[in-house]
Amino acid sequence: MTHALKTDNSDGLIRQKALWMRQQALKMVYDKQLGHLGGDFSAIDVLATLYFGVLRFDPERPDWADRDRFVMSKGHATGALYTALAAAGYYPEAWLDTYMEHHSKLNGHPNRQYLPGVETNTGPLGHGFPVALGIAIAGQMAGADYRTYVLTGDGEQQEGSNWEAAMTAGNRRLKNLTLIIDRNRLQQGAPTEETNGLDPLDDKYRAFGWQVVEIEGHDYGQLLETLGAPVGDRQKPLCVIANTVKGKGVSFMENQAKWHHGVPNAEQFAQAMKELI
């Protein structure tokens, strides 16, 4: 079983999928007047790259034992995850219209028992990374070649459970595990560095036994090259610090903490849709 890249993106596939995901996420949040667009938009290029360029999966077989796993640890970014899974074929795109409705499968935070393709329930921060660690350990034990990717927010790194998981992954030399940190530098109410500073994040992960790569999180070339690279001789887990822009793609949302869970009015929605082309 190979892990060849699905696309080199010369056809613009990933860009096209990411654009569709942003448009859909915007509609979902506007319709429901609930959601987390800022973090959706900073993460969407990572997810589009993973699902359309990197991950080995079959939407017809969500329980396929050898699938690559993607764990969305920043579970509030459902606008990114739900649109990615719909685009990947796990469920009909029409389901997105039910976002957060009464008894919808598309809860405000993802539930694996509601939706195929969701690997674990997240929402409270600092949960997805330890679960991804367990998935990677299961792969290591079995000698399986599936890979495990987990995306956390950067503010999320303030949760101590991440550092428990980071230590264990480093000590076990879990080369099949990739942590992606959505480094948009803003948490709910303020910049991370003004709240409980994370820098130097790269040195922290190196000290915990990880290989660290810092990339531009909206550059599909860099994302593909980094996330799609074969494990090769690497003997450590890989930490990808993806420098991103909260609210990426909509001018008035970019780098604004208030768009963490801000919702657009009609005028803002129309303006945002115009920019998403």
């Binding site: 674990t120 679960v131 350990i137 299961a138």
Partner: protein
């Protein structure tokens, strides 16, 4: 650490039954793995580690990650038994128990070691008396507290084949193996330890043999006490409770746990809504003062005499 025996049966530390059973199961099913928090020794898993070194994941002193890793291993097709002192497994990792295990519904077996007040003089930080109340609140997790070595082994075997999250509340206290013919362990179904008609004593875990001894004391006063071993705290065997209420008219609950929110709480919730009868709830009122296991049991009347006294009170309250 020994607790007064109801019979002359030898007193046994149930951890041995746990360890022998999990080793035997692991030899038959390679999906079975254990996850610990530097608790190989206290979980009696030295033998497991020797036999299956690759299938024991020690994350060190990191309970949140320990539970998360359990969920991840289940995602990866394993049957993980996450074993740690119950005080840390439940309290420290409570949000992981809620979100990663109960809510996500992963097939993870949580093994709470040295539960209740087994750590005696080490104090309230090391006691695990809140766990019944906390775990009961997480509906999808089946909560089982075996009463002796035989039942411990049966519960571990059942947990391994049951599809769904389980909390096994084990003890290090030495207890006698109860002498009952043709025993069988059926999760969710209470085990009748003594027939009786004046009152029912519903006990769990280390309290069951004390309840049997209390029934013997009451018998000498011509009081007929039924004793139910309610090994499954959640979901509660409501049929057995309903029969106890209708047939004996008074209930005493006994648990090595808080006197609210656990077994007694569950019984009171059910009876108050269906068949109100006197329910005397025995357990601990809150954080324990410094004391040995025996002295704390004595202070809070978790003794055959104390249980018998509560049974008389419950009988007196009938029709009051």
């Amino acid at each position: 650490m020994a607790v007064a025996a109801a019979t002359s049966a030898p007193l046994i530390d149930c951890r041995k039954a746990w360890a022998e059973t999990i080793e035997a199961l692991a030899a038959e099913d390679e999906r079975i793995v254990v996850v610990v928090n530097d608790s190989v020794g206290s979980s009696n898993l030295g033998g497991f580690q020797e036999k299956f070194p690759q299938r024991l994941v020690n994350v060190g002193i990191a309970e949140q990650t320990m539970v998360g890793v359990g969920a991840g291993l289940a995602n990866g097709g394993r049957i993980p038994f996450v074993s740690a002192a119950s005080c840390f497994l439940t309290a420290r990792a409570m949000e992981q128990l809620k979100a990663d295990i109960a809510y996500a519904g992963f097939n993870v077996k949580l093994v709470g070691q040295s539960s209740g007040i087994a750590y005696g003089e080490l104090g309230a930080t090391h006691h695990s008396i809140e766990d019944f109340a906390w775990l009961r609140a997480l509906g999808p997790i089946t909560v089982v507290a075996p009463c002796d070595a035989w039942e411990t082994a049966e519960a571990v075997k059942w947990a391994a084949i049951h599809e769904g999250p389980v909390y096994l509340r084990l003890s290090r206290m030495k207890v006698p193996t109860l002498d009952l013919p043709n025993r069988s362990f059926t999760p969710g179904k209470a085990e009748l330890q003594r027939a009786g008609s004046d009152v029912t004593i519903i006990a769990a875990g280390t309290m069951v043999h004390l309840a049997v001894e209390a029934a013997d004391m009451l018998a000498s006063e011509d009081l007929s006490a039924r004793v139910l071993n309610m090994h499954t705290i959640s979901p509660l065997d409501i049929d057995a409770v309903a029969k106890a209420a209708s047939e004996t008219g008074a209930i005493v609950t006994v648990e090595e746990a808080l006197d609210r929110g656990g077994l007694g709480g569950a019984v009171a919730e059910y009876t108050s809504a269906t068949q109100p009868v006197p329910v005397e709830r025995m357990g601990f009122p809150g954080f324990m003062p410094t004391g040995s296991i025996a002295s704390l049991f004595e202070e809070f009347s978790l003794t055959p005499r104390g249980i018998a006294d509560a049974a008389r009170v419950a009988i007196r309250r009938k029709g009051a």
